[in-house]
Structure formats: structure tokens, C-alpha cells
């Protein structure tokens, strides 16, 4: 994953994509602004999300990429309002169509989220209720939010199951989750999430538990559904390949912060943050046996003891102490524009981009 001649070519197309994407994006439908999530229980305070901001426009796919424990799922759960408060402590703003959901009452939030934002989870089997038929669970969305009758809800559930390409939907609507295969269960969950035509769909590791051939089917389905409905898609994943294939933009998270954002082509061909570059050189390639892998040293920090200065500095090959530039150990780098349309949180991004 080096900057080969073909790579620099891709950067060119990347910037074009930003240009053409601009009119389509328009007003963002969902904005996360300086979101902080802390967990305060008996032990030390665990800071899972530390000032994350991103926005998603209709029809856009944004990937949130990061390793386990970087806060990517917690930020999504904060949007969905499914964190237990307390111990969780959420500050900042989550604006859906301009209205801040964090300042609303619970009932008002629920009314916005139902038809506004929905979410699918990694493990479909534990996300579905084993004692209700899938038809009941999909139809519940209509009954709860629109007061649809049981019979109509079931008919609509069948329609939705057809839409997510579950074969023989009419026969299978009365089946229980355990009777479905992993890929089909994930489709059931997608059907539930799409029931009320949400403006934004959050997919938290939707294909991680699936085999690669099934993963391809499910990602294909998600892409088609997005094209049909024009919803914004937030894709939370640790798989760089999936990000590359489906997303328009990416936000790379590390230790509770977004360390780099930009279009996929920009970020993947010329990362502006050493962490992103480290991730790229850690993955083996399918197209080539490759040489020895060049992993990031060490392990991600514990969220109750985040390093001073740049949180990545203990693992960073570029980390240095001032003077003559930022001091990585003491100065916290801020997310700043390092090139048109892309931002990174590193004192030395320019060195990575141009050096």
C-alpha cells in the first residue's frame, strides 16, 4: 500500500470526486458535534469518546474505521440513545435535521429516531429476540410507530423481507430467528432497520460475523437499498477492504478521537496520519503475497489511561519532542485541514503527505 504511480493517479480522481460530490451533499442530515462519552462507575473514569465531530449527508456513505476499543461503536450508540445513562455521560450535540437530540426529552427523541435514524448490529442472533417470529419483530416497528394493525404489519413485514431478498418471504415470515442462516438473519435485521424509511442507517460491523461470500451479498444489498432510498449510511467497521469498496468518506478513529477524515481515495492512497499509514502497512494483501508486514508497535491504550499529548505518540514512529514543531508528548494535536477536503490530527501530517 505504498504511493505507487497508480496511487498518485487515484489521488487525482479522488479530488474530482470531492468536487462532484459537493452539490449532492447539500445540508447534512445528521451532525455529531464535539461528542464526549464518559463512563463513570466505581473504577477510574473511562473516556470512550473524546470530542468527535462528523456529519452525514443524504445518499452518502461514511465509514468509521478503527480498532476495537477506539470508541467507534460507543459514538453510534450515543446517537441511537441506547447507552445506559448513568454510567454513561454524554455531552456535545447530536443534531438530526438541525435539532439537537441530546437536549430533548426521551419521548421526543424516540419519535425522531424511529423514522429518522436506525441501526443494525454485528451479531444478528443476539440482536433478535429468540421467542418472537421475525414477522412479529419486523412488524413491531409499524405497530409501535404508526399504530398499524397486526395483520397489516405482517403484510408489510413480508414486503420488507422481499425487499431485503429473503427467499420465500411469505412462508418464512412466521419462522423464528434460529431457523435462519447468519446472512439471512442479518437481512432480517436490515429489514427491521429499514421499516420506517430512515434518513440515516448506522451499520455497526454488519458483516464481521459473516463469511466472505455472504458478506459480499449483504454489502451489495446495503448499497442497492441506499441507492433506492437515498439514505445516509454510517458504516462502522475495522475492515479496510469493506471501507474501500463501499464508502465515500472515511473517519479514522483512535483512542476516542477522529484522527483523520477525507475521501477514501485520498486517505487510502496517501494517509495523512501515521496511525492510518500504520493500519495500511499492517494488512496482508489478497492480490500479492507481499513481504514482511510492518505492524504498528504496541497495543491501543486503555481508555482510562490515555497518553498525554497526541494519544498515538507511544506507538508512533514519527513522534518527537519539540522545539521546531509540535511536541508529540505534551501538545495535543488538533484536527485541522491538511489538504483540500481532508483533515488530520497530527503535528506532522505535511511530512507524511509531501515528505
Amino acid at each position: 500500500m505504498s504511493t505507487t504511480p497508480s496511487g498518485s493517479h487515484a489521488v487525482g480522481t479522488g479530488t474530482e470526486r470531492v468536487g462532484t460530490a459537493a452539490p449532492r451533499t447539500g445540508a447534512p442530515v445528521l451532525e455529531v458535534d464535539d461528542l464526549h462519552v464518559e463512563f463513570r462507575s466505581r473504577g477510574p473514569v473511562v473516556t470512550a469518546v473524546r470530542g468527535v465531530s462528523y456529519s452525514i449527508a443524504p445518499g452518502e456513505t461514511m465509514a468509521i474505521l478503527g480498532e476495537s476499543g477506539c470508541g467507534k461503536s460507543v459514538s453510534a450508540q450515543a446517537i441511537m440513545g441506547i447507552l445506559d445513562i448513568p454510567p454513561a455521560h454524554v455531552t456535545g450535540a447530536i443534531r438530526f435535521e438541525g435539532r439537537d437530540m441530546l437536549t430533548m426529552g426521551a419521548e421526543e427523541q424516540r419519535k425522531i429516531r424511529g423514522p429518522g435514524v436506525s441501526m443494525i448490529f454485528q451479531d444478528a442472533l443476539s440482536a433478535l429476540n429468540p421467542v418472537y417470529t421475525v414477522g412479529d419483530q419486523i412488524g413491531e416497528m409499524f405497530r409501535a410507530h404508526r399504530g398499524t394493525s397486526k395483520k397489516d404489519a405482517k403484510a408489510q413485514a413480508v414486503e420488507l423481507m422481499d425487499r431485503v431478498r429473503i427467499p420465500a418471504a411469505r412462508q418464512r415470515v412466521d419462522d423464528y430467528p434460529h431457523q435462519f442462516s447468519g446472512g439471512m438473519r442479518q437481512r432480517v435485521m436490515i429489514a427491521m432497520a429499514l421499516a420506517l424509511d430512515p434518513k440515516v442507517l448506522i451499520a455497526d460491523e454488519p458483516t464481521t460475523a459473516l463469511d466472505v461470500t455472504v458478506q459480499a451479498q449483504v454489502m451489495d444489498l446495503l448499497k442497492d437499498l441506499q441507492r433506492d432510498t437515498g439514505m445516509g449510511l454510517i458504516l462502522i467497521t475495522h475492515d479496510l477492504g469493506v471501507v474501500n469498496e463501499v464508502a465515500d468518506r472515511v473517519a479514522v478513529m483512535y483512542a476516542g478521537r477522529v484522527v483523520e477524515t477525507g475521501t477514501i481515495d485520498d486517505v487510502f492512497t496517501r494517509p495523512a496520519h501515521p496511525y492510518t499509514r500504520g493500519l495500511m502497512s499492517s494488512i496482508p494483501l489478497l492480490e500479492d503475497k507481499g513481504h514482511r508486514l510492518n505492524p504498528i508497535v504496541g497495543a491501543p491504550p486503555t481508555l482510562s489511561r490515555i497518553p498525554s499529548g497526541c494519544s498515538f505518540h507511544p506507538r508512533c514512529p514519527m513522534a518527537r519532542r519539540g522545539p521546531g514543531g509540535g511536541d508529540c508528548v505534551s501538545d495535543v494535536p488538533l484536527l485541522r485541514e491538511v489538504a483540500p477536503g481532508r483533515r488530520a490530527e497530527c503535528h506532522y501530517s505535511e511530512e507524511l503527505l509531501h515528505g
Binding site: 493517479h9 463469511d211 466472505v212 459480499a216 477492504g241 494488512i283 496482508p284 494483501l285 489478497l286
Partner: protein
């Protein structure tokens, strides 16, 4: 593969006296592979009833697998969940008894081994497990976990030097030697996997069966563990059977790759053969489903989307097992089971209509 010449001189296992049999001595001089599996089968009975159990069928988890692992070689076994790859690993380390077929280790049939020969086999063939959380006993310290095998194989590490050996082993796998007194919960996932590797190394193994050793790890840690496995192989001359579902990982680490589907191996060859010139439709579909990491290659590959699910191994399709999902299937596929042989592609493939079809895009150019 790299021939191993001075096998025993530099490793600690030379200290232990070995009861080398005639067969083993013959093997040492022959250059034959470490491990040869022939026609391996494992059928699990499907039973009904509580008191009077009756068998109503067989789950053919592994149904005729041939596989060889050379000295100092890494052989990859790749397939989707439920294809039987983990059952192969369990059969190898003796956690399950095969229904049929033979496992020949260093010229000796494992099924015929008894007593000290079997004990020696169990020492020489070690395993690294997928889940670093459940494969370590939470009540034992890292040092005790690593040393546990020496209670049975007392000759490997003399009792006085054990503490030092433990420290050496932890150091060898990249852990701080002072961590020997810590418990598993005090380690991260990657560190735990290193403890699992140290435990395997403590037995001075010849062959390590790695069953999804990196799939539970984050990418940066995964790369560290893969590098460690490569280093250990280089230094100790180990052979690996590397079982995984991640095709990129398998390609990176393996010298030869076997693709498994529903209890059978459908294609085998070097990494270049299988990934660059896949000839079995299943291999092609599998490879084409893997998302590529480079923006320049996005959409360049020829994506083959399979429909339907993997059939039940209790009732596999007649003839070719892949025919129910194959776009090339014809009448002959239902009647004749295609054998795994070279049909002119340079490497064996179990398809009547094997045909080289590149699906993985390369930076050199697009494929179509």
C-alpha cells in the same frame, strides 16, 4: 521448501533422549514430508432419542481430505465456516478420532501409534487456538500455562532450569519475562495469543496446527503475531498447518494453499497458483468476494456473487458438492464426483470444468 539439515543441533530438544524408531530414522534420511493425510474422514453421528439413541444420519464434517505438510513449510487451509477445517485440526492433534483415512506423521501412521510413540507425537504436534480468551485457564499464571506440558513430558525441561526456560520462552514470543506471574486477564488479546504460542513452543514441537490464530485480533496486533510466527518458523524450522478464513492472511503466510468446501479440498497449489490462477468455481467466487484494499483496484475485479447457502454436511449433494451453487453445473456434475487432479491448469482442482480465470485484480492491470 527449505530443507532442514541440522535439525536438532541448535534447539533445546537435543538435550532430551529420543527413542527413534526404525521408521523414524528412515524418514529422517528420506526427505519425505512431515505430515501426510490421506482420505481423511470424520463423520459425526446424528442421534435421536434420549434413552435409546438411534443414529438417523451422519454429518460428514470431513469427507476425504488429502493434505501434505513438508518440513519447514506453511500449508494454508482456507474455507468458510462449517466447511470442516477445524475438524481437520482436531483430528490432527488427536482430539477426535478419524472415521476413516490415515494420518502419517514422519513415516508412521498415527492411528497405529501406541504408548511412547503416541506420546512423542502429541508433543511434536502442537496447536494454537483461535480464541485467546477461552483457551487459557484464568486461574493459572502465564508461567504455569507455558510450563504445564512439562508435567507430562518431563524430559524436555530439567526441573531446575524451568524458571529460566519459561522466561526465555516468554521473551521469545515478545512478552516481558517478568510477566510470568501474571494471570491471563491482565493481558491484552494479542499478548494472550503470544502466551498460547509460548505454550506450544514449550513442547519443542515440529508441527504447529494454527487454527484461526489471528482472526480474533485487531489488524495491527494481527500483523505482529503473523510476523512472530514467521520468525519462529525461520529460527526453529517449524512446519505449520495454518487454518483460517481470511484469504489475505492465508496467502501472506502460506507456501501452499488448500481451499476447502463442505468437507473436501476443492483446489490446492502454491499461493500464486490458487490466488493468481484459480480454476475451481468456488475458489473464484471466494476470491472475488474479498474486498480489495486499494482504491485504484476498486471495482476492477470480476465479482461473482454466489446465491444460496452452503448445503448441510449431513446431506451433501451428489457428485460435485458445489454444483448446487455453481453456474457451470451440468448433468455430469450430479453424477460424477470430480477428483482433485490437475486438468491442465498446473495445479490440482476438483472440478470437471476447471478453467483458469483470474478474479483478483492486480496493480498490473484489470482483469475481465
Amino acid at each position: 521448501m527449505a530443507e532442514r539439515t541440522t535439525t536438532e543441533t541448535d534447539s533445546p530438544r537435543s538435550a532430551s533422549p529420543r527413542n527413534t524408531s526404525e521408521v523414524r530414522r528412515h524418514w529422517e534420511s528420506s526427505g519425505a514430508p512431515v505430515l501426510e493425510i490421506k482420505g481423511l474422514q470424520k463423520h459425526f453421528p446424528l442421534q435421536q432419542g434420549i434413552v435409546f439413541k438411534k443414529t438417523i444420519g451422519q454429518v460428514r464434517a470431513v469427507d476425504g481430505v488429502d493434505l501434505t505438510v513438508g518440513r519447514g513449510e506453511t500449508v494454508g487451509l482456507v474455507g468458510e465456516s462449517g466447511c470442516g477445517k477445524s475438524t481437520v485440526s482436531k483430528l490432527l492433534v488427536g482430539l477426535e478420532k478419524p472415521t476413516a483415512g490415515s494420518i502419517v506423521y514422519k513415516g508412521e501412521d498415527v492411528g497405529q501409534m501406541r504408548g511412547s510413540a503416541l506420546k512423542e507425537y502429541r508433543r511434536e504436534v502442537q496447536m494454537i487456538f483461535q480464541d485467546p480468551y477461552s483457551s487459557l485457564n484464568p486461574r493459572m499464571t502465564a508461567g504455569d500455562i507455558v510450563a504445564e506440558g512439562w508435567a507430562v513430558h518431563t524430559d524436555i525441561a530439567p526441573r531446575q532450569g524451568r524458571d529460566r526456560r519459561i522466561r526465555d520462552l516468554l521473551d521469545r514470543v515478545g512478552l516481558n519475562a517478568d510477566y510470568a506471574n501474571r494471570y491471563p486477564h491482565q493481558f491484552s488479546g494479542g499478548q494472550r495469543q503470544r502466551i498460547g504460542i509460548a505454550r506450544a513452543l514449550a513442547m519443542s514441537p515440529e508441527l504447529i496446527v494454527c487454527d484461526e490464530p489471528v482472526s480474533a485480533l485487531d489488524v495491527s496486533v494481527q500483523a505482529q503475531v503473523m510476523n512472530l510466527l514467521e520468525d519462529l518458523q525461520k529460527d526453529l524450522g517449524l512446519s505449520y498447518l495454518f487454518i483460517a478464513h481470511d484469504l489475505s492472511v492465508v496467502r501472506h503466510i502460506s507456501h501452499r494453499v488448500n481451499v476447502m468446501y463442505l468437507g473436501r479440498i476443492v483446489e490446492t497449489g502454491t499461493d500464486g497458483d490458487v490466488y493468481g490462477h484459480p480454476s475451481h468455481p468456488y475458489t473464484q467466487a471466494l476470491l472475488s468476494s474479498v474486498p480489495v484494499h486499494e482504491p485504484a483496484l476498486r471495482g476492477k475485479g470480476d465479482r461473482i456473487l454466489l446465491t444460496g447457502d452452503v448445503p448441510s454436511p449431513a446431506n451433501p449433494p451428489s457428485g460435485c458438492r458445489f454444483r448446487t451453487r455453481c453456474w457451470k453445473a451440468q448433468d455430469v456434475c450430479a453424477e460424477q464426483d470430480p477428483e482433485l487432479r490437475d486438468r491442465g491448469q498446473g495445479h490440482p482442482s476438483a472440478c470437471h470444468f476447471a478453467e483458469d480465470h483470474q478474479v483478483v485484480p492486480t496493480t498490473g492491470g484489470a482483469v475481465g
